[in-house]
């Protein structure tokens, strides 16, 4: 027990990692409310493509976002293996559809590098930085921003019809 504590410096945080289009992403474990299987959604008209719709999560209307579409990757099929991570930050709850959940890892602050400015080619708004563990890089997402911007993205995209 003691050794475990010693191994984990104060600034270490746990992250849930998941796969998305061949890349590995991570979100802070404390922002994860639960992980669910795919269930049909109710589509919301006039919302952006990545906004799949809403589900009833024990009485709460929860919007579900396809991260593949959000990050302009190719759309994958939804089946019984599709995983939805329900994120909860502040008063907002939303679900993200990912290819699969991989692991829970611990990263210290010095293992995380800030995201470089990638110019117009990539949208780094929702990226906190890159974390490297055992020679593998994970893209760490800013969940708070992701959730807060669900509406904004729609506005900036204008009418999508």
């Amino acid at each position: 027990m003691n050794t475990v504590l010693k191994d984990e410096p104060d600034d270490a945080k746990q992250y849930l990692t998941f796969r998305l289009g061949g890349e590995e992403y991570a979100v802070g474990i404390l922002t994860v409310q639960e992980i669910r299987g795919w269930a049909p959604v109710t589509a919301i008209p006039h919302s952006p493509r990545e906004m799949l719709g809403v589900i009833n999560l024990r009485g709460v209307v929860v919007p579900i976002v396809d991260l593949r579409l959000k990050f302009a990757l190719e759309r994958a099929d939804y089946n019984e293996f599709t995983v939805v991570i329900i994120l909860n930050v502040g008063a907002r709850v939303a679900g993200i559809v990912v290819d699969g959940v991989s692991d829970v890892i611990t990263l210290t602050a010095d293992q995380i590098r800030a995201a470089p400015a990638l110019g117009r080619d990539a949208d780094t708004d929702h990226i906190v930085g890159f974390g490297t563990l055992e020679e593998r890089m994970r893209i760490i997402l800013d969940v708070e921003r992701l959730l807060a911007n669900l509406g904004d993205t729609c506005n900036s995209n204008g009418v999508l019809k």
Binding site: P40, V41, T42, A43, I44, P45, H46, S47, M51, G53, V54, I55, N56, R58, G59, V60, V61, V62, P63, A91, R92, V93, A94, L150, G151, C154, G158, V159, K161
Partner: protein, 738 residues
Amino acid sequence: MTLDLAQFHDTFFEESFEALDSMEAALLKLSAGEVDAELINTIFRVAHSIKGGAATFGFSDVTAFTHTAETLLDQLRAGKRQVTPELVDLLLRSGDLMREMLEATKHKQVIDKARVAAVHGEIEAILKSAGTAAAAAAPAPPPVPIHVPGDEPERCGWRIHFVPGAKLLRNGNDPLRILRELGTLGACTVRVDAKFVPPLADLDPEECRLGWHVELNGPVPETQVRAVFDWVEGECELHLEAFGPMGNAAPAPAPLAPSLVTPVSGEARGETPIAEPAFVPVAVAVEAPRPAPDPAHAPAAAAVADESAAASRSAAPASAAAPAAAPSTAPSTAQAHSGEGGSIRVSIEKIDELLNSVGELVITQSVLSQLAAPLDGAEELRSALGQLERHMRALQESVMRVRMLPISFVFNRFPRLVRDLGQRLGKKIELRMLGDTTELDKTVLEKIGDPLVHLVRNSIDHGIESPDTRIAAGKSAHGVIELNAYHKGGNVVVEVSDDGGGLKRDKILAKARERGLVGADEELSEDRIFNLIFAPGFSTADVVSDVSGRGVGMDVVKRNINELGGHVQIHSTPGKGSMVRIRLPLTLAILDGQLARVGSEVYVVPIVSIVETIQVRREQVNSIASRAQVFRLRDDYLPIVRLYDLFGVEPDHTDLLDGLLMIVEADGQRVGLFVDELMSQQQVVIKSLETNFRPVTGLAGATMLGDGRVALILDIPGVIARFQSQQAPTRDPAQVAA
């Protein structure tokens, strides 16, 4: 020993504000010519309670001002002064000022001393004219033919023996405050009477065991001396004895029987002093015409001896002569006046939590019912579930009712508003309020207040004509504004009507054409013309007054009501007046919905918006140009909104003949909403989309269906707006992007 009085502050403020409301209501009744002793008493009691409370908490500004106002009220109450419009006006302003002072004190802000001094001065000026006024008013009705010993000006002073009850301190009273207040009336010599102090071993430090002998010098009226003790009435033993050239005036022995009063004194505190039964001067004149120096032989027993001595302050009605009746009447009037017998205050959040949980239960219950439906041989389970459903509905209704308040909470502000505004504009207006007990959800109630104020102001300013114009038009000089609230089919309808000039149809149309809201030769239905006044910045007023005419407001009215899921309708007859009818949902938490299916999606259409649903016949449909289609319903041509097209879903039917057309209405405009089929009607719990996502035009929210799926609730005004912006994208690009 010192009680922490701060914990009572909130209660004091809350009660004071409520009391001021009832005072205002009473004053307005007075101003309407309804001179009634009970009304004056109500007003007096309010001032009195506030003064007492403020003194207890040490809000000296409030105490000082209220005291002066109270003196004036006291004279009114004693019949020494006539109720005049000017006086009512002054008292209304005093009430406002008291409210402001209390607000300021509550929020620890600075009191506007200059204004206080101004109103204070006005009251004092009136009080100074007391001598002549009292003399002049003395023979006037209501006559009080009782000799009032306390009001002789020749008096030289009072010997007061004051022994507080042991519990006095626990009830938040402070004898020192009383002594200090006595000191403000005149020079005092105070001797403490310590003969009741028990030996140290038996001494309870929280009990008051001291008594005082006070000699108060100065020609102070007895009523004023007694007023100092009002707050502890019933909790103390009090003897007053006048000295000096008193002549035949009664020595007014007033041993208040504590046994009679103590049991209720706790409740009565903060409302009204206990030994003050209803004031019925006429009854006194008839029932108790006794010589003043002889109180001992009065029919009333010891309990009312105080009243008989101080008849100018409060007189006992005949029934109060029975000693048992005295303590029971006072609290009941006190409760009736605050309008809540045996109630508790609960924070809205707690009720909302409860409501949410019940909402979840309703959903879970319907999921269970659906699961049980296909089961074989589960008859018992199904009947149990049926029972559960009934109980759930009952529970849901009870919880909803907890949030309901009578609409009088909103209506109450109007008598004052109509009076003030009418006066300012020189119009004579009578306000009639009907159905003010109609109950509405608190959230709805809070949001309907401002729109109603706007509508009433509009009626006063634009609707009701000046008395001359009215007489010229053959109407009575008094305009009538009527507020009416009633339930109709699961909705609450509030109507604001006036018998003024009505809306000027042509003027509105001309103005709308001028502003480009309506095409030059476009013909509009009456409804749509009247609806134009809800356009932002629209005003036909020739002159912009400080009351209205800037065109700000009606659009806000409509927006507020739409936000509540309500509808506004205008009816108007030139020369006869106009009426604005507002339909509101009873609550914002639950909605009566019609489920309609389009392809695999189920939408909830608010029943309030639905006019009818029909199957279309070929000959009723006309195509305009290549795309737009209209549909003839009797004499109207309605645009057809294909929901699948608008919302981008895959429908079962695209041919109008195969599906159904729901005629829905919003803002005086009707459209046909094309759907595949209708499903059940049910009450749905409204969930906001905004909480986790954002508001979407055309959607009022979402709800859970029995199978656990989410269904979207349509917002008909939004749907129509979206449809129109798609039809005419060049007209208003801003709306398209929204």
